[in-house]
Assembly symmetry: C2
Homo-oligomer: 209 residues x 2
């Protein structure tokens, strides 16, 4: 019993402390409104670095998809060596070109985003220019994802109506690479949508009510 009493007496002097903490938060310099534009610019930079990482990964995964296999053709006694790589299909060539452009753009725009963090004054004009090129990049990357996805789907499933055979049972590693690259570029498309929405939201906050 003697050990609990000091605890009870200890509580009253601690009571004013939470009240002091409640009073502390609203100093004018730390209000969320004054910090918010900074958060937007940092979020923009993080998204752009993620865009760089995803587009680079996607291009590397697509380019390293070369595969050679021994394949038993009906009518021949010995299996023949067949090989495939991404540049056998124009859709994959366009995919690599589009994602490379997006990767290059993500490097440039990340540097500009760092510049905007260091010099907060010129952000409105930069935001408008970011939105214009982000929207164009979104169109290019989404079209590349769609075209590579369509060809990849025919490779996986074939199309009996027009007599196109599936090839993924032979080129298993190739198809895994193609599928991964398409999935990562879908993620890059989502990042570009988020970047446009972030810029537009950031612009709309600057309009007086």
């Amino acid at each position: 019993m003697a050990s609990t009493e000091p605890e009870k007496t200890a509580t009253p002097p601690e009571a004013p402390a939470p009240e002091r903490e409640k009073m502390a938060p609203p100093p004018e310099a730390l209000r969320p409104e004054s910090k918010a534009p900074g958060y937007f610019v940092v979020a923009d930079l993080v998204l752009r670095v993620l865009l760089f990482a995803s587009t680079l990964t996607s291009v590397v995964v697509m380019v390293t998809s070369k595969q050679s296999e021994f394949f038993q053709v009906s009518g021949l006694r010995y299996p023949v060596l067949v090989s495939t790589k991404f540049n056998h299909s124009p859709a994959f060539i366009y995919f690599v070109a589009a994602l490379s452009v997006a990767c290059l753009y993500s490097i440039i725009s990340s540097l500009l985003s760092v510049f905007a963090i260091l010099k907060p004054g010129c952000s409105t004009k930069l935001l408008v220019h970011f939105v214009i090129i982000d929207v164009l990049m979104l169109g290019i990357v989404a079209a590349a994802t769609g075209s590579a996805g369509a060809v990849g789907y025919v490779e996986l499933k074939g199309n009996s109506h027009v007599g196109w055979k599936k090839v993924c049972h032979v080129y298993d590693k190739f198809c895994r690479h193609i599928g991964s690259a398409i999935f990562i570029s879908l993620f890059a498309s989502v990042l570009l949508v988020l970047l446009v929405l972030l810029s537009v939201y950031s612009l709309s906050r600057k309009i007086p009510k």
Copy 2:
């Protein structure tokens, strides 16, 4: 010499007239700044009506692409009847679904744009919402254009590396329809990019310098 003198004396009284014309232009009601938001909303409506027309045309052209042909197969004495339509390929089914959604959205957004012309007060919130859905639609329509374009290209040229034969020499009308639908949906993608840029430019004009 007598004929040139009246011309010289005539010039001084005409001199004040150009000065009056120079003074006339700046009445406050006709300044371009006060008329500009109205022009933006009308341009927005025109682009949305064009988007409706192009997506509807694209869907109709794709859906009416059915073709049946007599085709001479090697090894058979008589030609066989072969037929194709858009829903033999998953890429074209996705194309029709995506463009139909964009068509429906263009109807709804045109009505909202008319509403914005009638009630100019609530345009800022509407613009932000327009940009969000326009960007998503752009991603969907661009991916649909890319996937249909990739499959259409294989139908036109074939792919000797994976053994896919071209079919456009048999299905000529079908391929013309597919190509036209893809071209019109590319136009719809450009319209969506323009709509996003118009909204962003319109938002950026409302920010005080």
